[in-house]
């Protein structure tokens, strides 16, 4: 059973609908017993880091996520759920969960492409350059694009944690991978067929082999 971690994240129902459409059973829960019983954990997220962390700490879900990571259970982070697995975030100067060393930074206002200023948020479809293959990206055309909407981006300390990068006036880490954790800045649940394929692949992934 796949568990979607329930907290004050805006995209939980979208993730649930996407799982439903690929015929995947799931529960949405913040109960640690049910989360422990699940084979996989999805950590979604839309909103601001400060409020999300306050809520997670209150429910002790930050501690649960650390234990979950140690246990080897496959974890999928999405958008804000990716940003707050790092140590800290520049958004509301928030101390975060710290599964991966590094921080979440704001895009500089000075981003440019071909002489024109780029908009913030980075909103729309963009591609991901994978540094290596990963089972969660199996059977997807490398030219596929995904839906992004964010003003902050993950910046892990170790290059080894960067699985994929995206260009937006600068190159930023758009997919993090470390052991049984994979986390992406874009929204697979809103990225058409390639996004649904990522969810399918994640649900079949055992959390290693890459």
């Amino acid at each position: 059973m796949i568990a979607i971690i329930e907290y004050n994240a805006g995209n939980i129902t979208s993730v649930a609908r996407a799982l439903h459409s690929i015929g995947q059973d799931f529960v949405i829960t913040d109960d640690t017993k049910m989360l422990n019983a699940a084979s996989h954990a999805i950590f979604p997220g839309v909103g601001a880091a400060g409020e999300a962390m306050a809520y997670l700490k209150d429910k002790k879900l930050d501690r649960w996520l650390k234990q979950c990571f140690q246990s080897g259970k496959p974890i999928l982070g999405i958008c804000l759920g990716t940003q707050i697995i790092l140590d800290r975030s520049e958004e509301n100067n928030t101390d975060c969960i710290g599964l991966v060393a590094g921080s979440t930074k704001r895009f500089p206002n000075s981003l440019k492409s071909a002489g024109s200023a780029l908009k913030i948020p980075h909103m729309g479809w963009n591609s991901v350059n994978l540094k290596q293959n990963h089972p969660v990206f199996a059977d997807i055309d490398p030219a596929a694009e995904y839906y992004f909407v964010h003003s902050y981006y993950p910046s892990p300390e170790s290059e080894a944690a960067v699985l994929g990068t995206t260009d937006y006036g600068m190159t930023f880490c758009s997919v993090l991978a470390m052991k049984n954790l994979i986390a992406m800045q874009f929204h697979p649940e809103k990225s058409g067929r390639p996004g649904l394929q990522i969810l399918k692949n994640f649900c079949a992934w055992r959390g290693h082999d890459f």
Binding site: S113, A117, L118, M123, G124, E145, D167, K190, S191, P194
Partner: protein, 259 residues
């Protein structure tokens, strides 16, 4: 690099498309959910629904449409029309829309932008602007004025000032509709679009006037728009979304070509 977005716009009244949409084999699709599915499969990057339901007691029909659309397509979509307050926004977002678009309501009560951004995040709040070209004056220094009620009512508000003010209040995106160009299929208002887009830091969707792929190419390059809204040119099957994207690709304009 980011792709330019192509966004079909569907007008819905009492849960039905206001004009049937002709698809393969001349099938007339009056169901907005089916039309959304068709455009999703054709490669639309996002979909906009504009609810023109007049009576408030029929508004819940739209919520049901939003719910069914969210179960059917896995790309972002927004809903505009008739959204007056935080409660309306909550219903539409709760039913599965990514974004809500506020237009007249924001002109009459600008705080709705800030309230929406606080509650759901700026990325959820699109400012819809209906704009008419006017004489340059002290009141409208940009030469463009905000109009409401479908263009019938002048507000005296300068369009550029309003775009920047809405950004300050927390809007995450602007959908910029030229009332002069709307429905003419004679091209977008390029000057207006570049004026607004170059003077805000949030994305701008150009709207009004699309009749052929060249119009999209113009507004996405000269007009500096981040996305282009289309209606009749795809609803009447003059073009498919893939044809438009192929043309843009030939013009070296990056769009999403795999879906």
């Amino acid at each position: 690099m980011i792709s330019k977005r192509i966004i079909p716009c569907l007008d819905v009244r009492d849960g039905k498309l206001t004009k049937g949409i002709k698809f393969k084999g001349n099938i007339d699709i009056g169901d907005p959910v089916e039309a959304a599915r068709e455009y999703y499969e054709q490669g639309a990057d996002e979909i906009v629904f504009y609810d023109i339901t007049a009576s408030s007691d029929k508004r819940d029909i739209m919520i049901d449409v939003v719910r069914r659309v969210a179960e059917t397509i896995f790309i972002p979509f927004s809903v505009g029309g008739g959204i007056r307050n935080l409660d309306d926004m909550r219903k539409v977002i709760g039913a599965g829309a990514e974004k809500i678009s506020v237009n007249s309501a924001a002109v009459l009560e600008p705080a709705i932008i800030t309230q929406g951004a606080r509650a759901f995040g700026s990325q959820c709040v699109v400012l819809g602007m209906d704009v008419k070209k006017v004489e340059v004056s002290g009141q409208t220094p940009s030469g463009y004025e905000i109009v409401i009620e479908g263009g019938r009512k002048h507000t005296g508000i300068d369009a550029l000032w309003w775009a920047q003010e809405a950004q300050r209040l927390g809007a995450g995106e602007i959908c910029l509709n030229s009332i002069d160009a709307d429905g003419m299929q004679d091209g977008y208002e390029i000057n207006l679009t570049s004026l607004i887009s170059e003077n805000v830091h949030i994305p701008v969707i150009a709207s009004g006037g699309a009749g052929k792929p060249e119009h999209l190419a113009d507004v996405l390059t000269k007009g500096k728009a981040d996305a282009a809204l289309i209606a009749s040119m795809v609803h009447y099957r003059t073009y498919t979304i893939s044809q438009i994207k192929n043309y843009l690709c030939d013009q070296n304009i990056k769009t999403r070509i795999l879906w």
